[in-house]
Amino acid sequence: MKYTRILDRRTLLKGAGSVVIGLPFLEEMRIQSVYAQAAAPPVRGLNLFFGLGYPMPIQSEGFEGKNSWIKTLEPFEPLKSKLAILRGVNQTLADHADNSHYDGAAAAFTGTKMPNKNTTGGISVDQALRRGGYPQGLPAGMIPAISGGTFFRRSDSTNRYIHSRNQDGSPVEVPKDTPAAFFTRVFGEAPGMTGMPAASDPAAARQQRLRKSVLDTVTAQYKHFMSDAGNLGAPSRARLADHLDRIRELEARIFAADGGPTPKPAACPTPVKPVDPSVPSGTAADPGGQGINITLTDLVGHWQKIADVFALAVKCDRARFGSAVFQGAGERIRLKGNYQYDGRLIYDFDDARDRPGTSGATACSHEYWHSFADAGENRQLRAHLHLMMNQIAHLMKLLDAPDAVEENGKTILENSMVIVSTESGDGRHNDSTRELTGVLHMISGGNGRFKTGQIIDVNNHGIHLYNTMLAAFGVGRTMGDGGGATIDQILL
């Protein structure tokens, strides 16, 4: 069953006007941007995930907060007219008898039950929108899903931190965990992928043509096995189709029509490859599940560089879909640093100090979620939540900046389907239903499709929320079984 779309064709094809600015020769410049020619903004879907959850009682406090010193939604104050905060989004259909670090994380943006800890139960909403919005595929060379983040808990489940998923629940893209690697993924500079040979070098040009012939042959092989003659079942064909998408992306990068600058969005400044901060990545990021020591400066510095690349990728129209992660599900860090917001101290983080008598995993901030007390102050948890919201808001602000204003006068944030979600509505593991109930979501306006400036109690399942949003974009194919309620409260 294919996705169908009811989208204005102008979204892809029509429009005029573009701004050309001088840039260094990066791959980004060789992508023929249809965005630059569009009168209407392109369809975009971006998932922003934060780990550990947002307890329902704290959600209920809204922007006002329970006390004066930590209002956890405060960082969204400048954006609240452009967002809807959705309470009562339940992921209980995704209950897998694990805890929310696994099944709640897998349900974020998919609404479905994971079959295992590395696979979600279905496609993520950003990718469903991509398939529905671009049934013939994205413009050549565009990345199907940008994915990057600041996350450290990863060794036992990819569902913790991968939030752009294919139909079969496999990752579309493995998130990049360093700003430099993320930049390279988005803008190129990978070995063997830089530039076409100069016309004056016929031998190199010949090699490039032969290289293309090889890839054409490989493509033909994939097409064969994706056809009926290939004798493969649907899941296998889907896996090969995913592979073929990557080959096409590779081809587009290698064999762009010309090597010179092409029109690109005005919002795309000169990309500059970031320098990685000294934050653990790869396997070093998760030392046996024991958590890492990290300073506030390093944590925020790392994330904001990731966020910069993420926003730049969207502004430069290298990607229209994808996901970003600020702390994975069940994140384990021992944070230290003086956290200030708007010129005032929110909290002096020192998890080691605040968790006396503990060490290793149990000394991590993670534990504040497990020990959440309805009637308690939950001081450290609130402080961490404030920090998390601040960082998610930081990325949103980049998409809402003056250089993100599009031709319709709205910002990328306003024009796109941006969804924020997390793993649980209560971090205590002793009640899986409670954990998966009331999982905080935030959504942007989707270019006038969704209400903003409100807190809405939707009291419905996540899968229905996602399907409602897809339907608002005219995507005929829905996630899951396609059934369920339409959540009218969110629609304009």
């Binding site: 069953m1 995704a94 008898a97 694990d98 805890n99 349900a107 998919t110 039950k113 079959p115 295992n116 590395n118 979600t120 139960g121 060794s155 036992d156 990819t158 139909q167 079969d168 496999s170 990752p171 990978a190 063997g192 032969l210 290289r211 012939s213 090889v214 054409d216 042959t217 092989q221 994939y222 064969h224 096995f225 009926d228 004798n231 079942g233 649907a234 899941p235 296998s236 889907a238 896996r239 090969l240 592979h243 990557r246 992306e249 590779l250 790869g282 998760d286 030392p287 046996g288 599940g289 060490s359 290793g360 149990t362 534990e367 593991h429 002793n430 009640d431 899986s432 899968i463 899951g480």
Partner: protein, 605 residues
């Protein structure tokens, strides 16, 4: 809400798949933040829980299906491109072996792991591509346990780009290209006959089977394109090689999946590939190909003979030791760091020595052709001098040495290794160690507590031992139903710290009793033990521990968790293994004779 029926007293291996812990006691677990499955808990009231089940979820997290029901909301995603979840873990008699409902698990093309890719290239082309390939290929996505699960072996842009680069680099490493081409084709003219000869010959080797007409047509077209660029036959042939190295038939293990929905035998060529990658992480060698081509693999004796032959090859040990390492997730030791505050003077470099010790244990069991469960009570260990000192072994010797432990009752067997004792965090949590034990030694599972559970820890005073804390959970009527299953089996380890240091008293001077009991699934009476030595002996003789290892090997060999519908095949293997010495070879040999290897369910879509 998650109460599940218990199993009969002698649970067959197939039922390891289909049941889980049945809790009867209302359990208000106090498990803090423990992960890896769910925290303990249960609803109802009664006489205490039973360990019953087993599921492939624990280690690799790669089970094929849902738990107690088809994947509810997840099943909603069952579409042409999203296979329906396979019922896996519903407990009870109804899932005992029923030949009428036995069906092979789901089929999915499986991408070669980096190791398999390297082995496949080196075997087919007789060249070495290390360390080049290791440098070029992105690391697999890290997840605990086995890294060869088909579901997790997705492809990234970087990997596709690496395949393309590697293909070019490999073609450039052939030495004399003409000599290379001559190995596969005895002619060298740019004729279709010559081209076809090379395509079929090289393809047979590299693509692990006969080249299909559609594939041949595409490769012939590449010759034409090369000819248009004035390429020679040899140069064009290297382009074909580059294309083959990126083709789906090479990158993926592909079988004929389409059909009328019936269960069918896999082809001899496909079976050879299944056996070869399970035993060697490599493609079939010439002898196995010959066995497939001559019909020998259609006979059980033929398969048995090939498996026995292949087990003698060093690649079998490499693969088996990889299984062993993955089963215990020894990679976690590569990055594990203990805090200096909690463990002053502890050298984190010892974690590498601990990993080496455990690897050496498996090597000793392998070389002696001992039953696999003897790894639990082997009375010797091979450790570095530093680790020997850390353990307090008598007379530490220079370098890595093997120590006889017959006179050292506190050491000996897997459970006394620092690599295993590191599980449980810096507090050496009995809950976390117990979860590991339940999932990886017994192949059982702890389900989440009910909504009514109160996880408030029992109040305890300062200076209380961790044994007392654990015992309080076990004794608590609200907690004990679950925690007795989890924690009592690992009380034998309570004298060991997170770094594996043995002490009969804790830092407060409290005695640490090391006796406990194991409730094996399906057995009414618990198996008591007095200390870690007896615990190790009990496990070494345990059918359950043996069956669990068989299940884990099956999971690794198949590259997926066996489905619930494959219980009969697992039971068939179990019966064979029960009457054998129980070596790793016996287990993989028995599994290779079953429908797990020999059959697949065709798909109509």
């Amino acid at each position: 809400m998650r109460n599940r029926p218990s199993l009969r007293s002698s649970a067959p291996l197939g039922q390891l798949l289909v049941a889980t812990m049945a809790f009867a006691a209302g359990c208000t677990g106090s498990v803090s933040s423990e992960e890896g499955g769910a925290a303990a808990g249960a609803a109802g009231s009664g006489t205490g829980g039973q360990v019953s089940a087993g599921a492939g979820v624990g280690n690799a997290g790669v089970s094929a299906g849902g738990t107690s029901s088809p994947a509810g909301g997840g099943a909603a995603g069952s579409t042409a491109a999203n296979p329906p979840a396979v019922p896996r873990a519903h407990p009870g008699e109804e899932f005992a072996c029923d030949p009428g409902s036995a069906t092979p698990g789901p089929s999915l093309v499986r991408r070669l792991t980096a190791t398999e890719y390297i082995n496949s290239v080196e075997h087919a082309l007789s060249i070495k591509i290390q360390p080049l390939a290791t440098t070029e290929l992105p690391a697999e996505v890290a997840s605990s346990g086995f890294d060869n699960d088909a579901n997790a072996l997705v492809v990234s842009y970087e990997r596709v780009a690496a395949y393309e680069r590697l293909a070019t680099l490999i073609a450039g490493q052939l030495g004399d290209p003409a000599a290379f081409v001559a190995r596969f084709s005895d002619c060298s003219t740019m004729t279709e006959a010559c081209q076809t000869k090379l395509i079929d010959s090289l393809g047979r080797k590299l693509l692990r089977g006969a080249v299909q007409p559609a594939e041949r047509t595409a490769f012939l077209a590449l010759y034409q394109a090369a000819q248009a660029e004035a390429a020679s036959y040899v140069e064009a042939s290297t382009l074909v090689l580059r294309a083959m190295l990126q083709s789906p038939r090479f990158i993926y293990r592909i079988e004929k999946e389409r059909g009328d929905g019936s269960v069918q035998a896999v082809s001899a060529t496909e079976l050879a590939s299944r056996i070869s990658y399970a035993l060697w992480q490599a493609p079939p060698d010439d002898a196995l190909v010959a066995a497939a081509d001559t019909g020998k693999l259609e006979q059980e004796t033929g398969v048995a003979a090939e498996v026995q032959r292949m087990l003698q090859d060093p690649r079998a040990y490499v693969t088996a030791s990889t299984f062993f390492s993955d089963w215990l997730d020894l990679r976690r030791l590569d990055t594990l760091q203990r805090s200096a505050d909690a463990f002053p003077g502890f050298d984190n470099a010892l974690h590498a020595d601990m990993k080496q010790e455990t690897t050496a244990l498996f090597e000793a069991v392998w070389k002696s052709k001992a039953r696999l469960t003897s790894l639990y009570d082997l009375e010797s260990t091979t450790v570095s001098q530093a680790l020997a000192k850390h353990y307090g072994l008598p007379s530490p010797r220079e370098g890595v040495a093997t120590y006889d432990l017959t006179a050292v009752p506190t050491r000996g067997g897997l459970l006394t290794h620092g690599s295993i004792l590191a599980i449980g965090g810096e507090q050496a949590s009995s809950v976390m160690r117990g979860l590991f034990f339940i999932e990886n030694v017994l192949c059982s599972e702890i389900v989440a507590p009910p909504a009514s559970a109160d996880t408030t820890p029992p109040p305890l005073g300062a200076g209380v031992s961790r044994r007392t804390v654990s015992a309080a959970r076990v004794a608590n009527p609200a907690c004990g139903g679950c925690h007795s299953q989890m924690e009592q089996p690992v009380w034998g380890l309570i004298r060991y710290s997170a770094t594996g240091v043995y002490s009969e008293k804790d830092e407060f001077g409290n005695e640490l009793p090391a006796d406990g009991e194991i409730r094996f699934p399906g057995q009414q009476a618990p198996a008591p033990y007095a200390d870690v030595a007896e615990l190790s002996r009990v496990l070494a003789q345990s059918e359950r521990a043996r069956d669990c290892l068989t299940l884990k090997i099956a999971q690794y060999a198949l590259g997926r968790s066996p489905a619930g519908s494959e219980s009969c095949a697992l039971d068939a293997a179990r019966q064979v293994i029960a009457s054998s010495p129980g070596t790793y070879g016996d287990m993989i040999g028995a599994l290779s004779q079953t429908d797990l290897f020999r059959r697949l369910k065709t798909q109509t879509n």
